[in-house]
């Protein structure tokens, strides 16, 4: 059995760990509120953008010659996956969930004999994927310096994706991120952004629009923007999810530490009592023998 002194030290160390996790939880909670707010504020833009594109793609007269970003290259040989994770750890299953989702997709792609290319956004995803899929990762981006998700960063990723698409490096692009539902639930998502997948979505109206300049020109200008917008949306959802996930992970850690402190304190008191009893017995039996 551990000595009294050891127990005391352990209690102290667990307590200080608890303090840290508690502080991290508070910080995550504060950041979560901000991240959630900006995720909600960002939604109108991407929704409106989606709507406009939906209306436009319905208005495109010549489906055959529609921009490639909308209709695809006509084949599905090379897949590009943009895996978006966080730059920091200690956030529960946040990163692992995205990676798990992405990996099952990778396996499917490779089983079908297709080519796979990966872009990782955020260093944690890169760390986890490097071991198995190291040779597939073509680019690794990290926004450690930016405090909050901002459109400028998303635009950088978007431009890169489009550049690669125009160079013919891939046919299909999918982004992986966590959608924020609430603090406890984040749903890993795989969203195909190239070619744009509008199936199952009905246009809100069949009213015809006047276009200026014509549909094709607007579309070819708008689609690249939409890529950046979707990536930005994913980044916002991700940052809210990260904070939510971290908050609940740290909440659990704090609680576990509390339980551990209780258990250790009981053990400490027991062995202290045992020592006292032992001493008493010794004194009494010493007195009796006189």
């Amino acid at each position: 059995m551990a000595s009294l002194d050891d127990l005391k030290k352990r209690i102290a160390s667990v307590k200080s760990t608890q303090k840290i996790t508690k502080a991290m939880k508070m910080v995550a909670a504060a950041k979560l509120r901000r991240a959630q707010e900006s995720a909600e504020k960002g939604r109108p833009y991407s929704e409106k953008m989606n709507n406009v594109i939906l209306n436009l793609s319905n208005g495109v007269s010549d489906k055959e010659n529609a921009p490639k970003l909308l209709s695809g290259t006509g084949q599905e040989k090379t897949h590009l996956c943009v895996v978006m994770t966080s730059d920091r750890g200690l956030c529960g299953g946040f990163n692992s969930n995205i990676i798990k989702k992405a990996k099952s997709y990778f396996v499917k792609i490779l089983d079908e004999g297709k080519e796979l290319k990966i872009i990782t956004v955020g260093s944690k995803g890169n760390d986890q994927l490097r071991r198995v899929y190291g040779d597939k990762i073509i680019e690794n981006i990290s926004f450690k310096e930016s405090k909050n998700a901002n459109y400028f960063d998303a635009d950088k990723v978007g431009k890169m994706v489009i550049e690669k698409f125009e160079a013919g490096e891939f046919d299909v692009c999918t982004i992986f991120y966590n959608q924020f539902k609430n603090v406890i639930t984040q749903i890993p998502q795989a969203q195909q952004i190239i070619p744009l997948n509008n199936e199952g979505e009905e246009s809100s109206s069949d009213e015809s629009y006047e276009f200026e300049p014509d549909e094709d020109e607007i579309l070819s200008n708008l689609l690249p923007k939409n890529i950046s917008t979707q990536i930005f949306k994913a980044m916002l959802e991700n940052s809210a999810s990260e904070q939510g996930s971290r908050m609940s992970a740290m909440d659990n850690a704090t609680r576990n530490a509390g339980e551990m402190v209780d258990k250790l304190t009981i053990e400490y008191n027991r062995s202290r009592q045992a020592a006292i009893t032992k001493e008493l017995i010794e004194i009494i039996s010493g007195a009796e023998s006189l």
Binding site: S38, P44, Y45, V52, Y151, Y209, L222, K225
Partner: protein, 130 residues
């Protein structure tokens, strides 16, 4: 019948402005300035760098934008833009900064004609502000 309609400006970070007592909006569309009044036909158009003028009862407002899309439908005008500044909040130094940036962009030789045209537009608009 009132002659007012609703305008909403959104940028990627947030909903920038919502106003529902607007009588006229002038936007710098790709093929020239375009004034939009109530009951305009449904339209989607691209914007080039320029000034958005919003005329309403509660006062006129001017915004400088660098790009964007407008959608008008059922007397709802939505403007999507990634860069927008209220002219009233914009001081001279900010204008100079933007102008400098735009000039650098316009003088680059490795860009295509369209971006060059847009950059030139930016320079022009910003110059008229000063």
């Amino acid at each position: 019948m009132s002659e007012e309609f609703k305008v909403e400006i959104v940028n990627p970070e947030k909903s920038f402005l919502v106003k529902d007592d607007v009588s006229e909006v002038v936007v710098p569309a790709f093929e020239g300035e375009m004034g939009i009044l109530k009951d305009h036909i449904s339209i989607i158009s691209f914007l080039k760098p320029g000034i958005i003028k919003i005329l309403s009862k509660s006062g006129d407002e001017n915004y400088y934008i660098e790009d964007g899309i407008v959608e008008f439908k059922n007397n709802n005008l939505s403007i999507l833009t990634s860069t927008i500044f209220n002219l009233a909040d914009m001081d001279k130094s900010k204008q100079q900064d933007l102008l400098k940036q735009a000039e650098v962009e316009a003088n680059r030789t490795d860009i295509n004609d369209q971006s060059k045209y847009l950059a030139d537009q930016k320079v022009e608009v910003l110059k008229t502000l000063n």
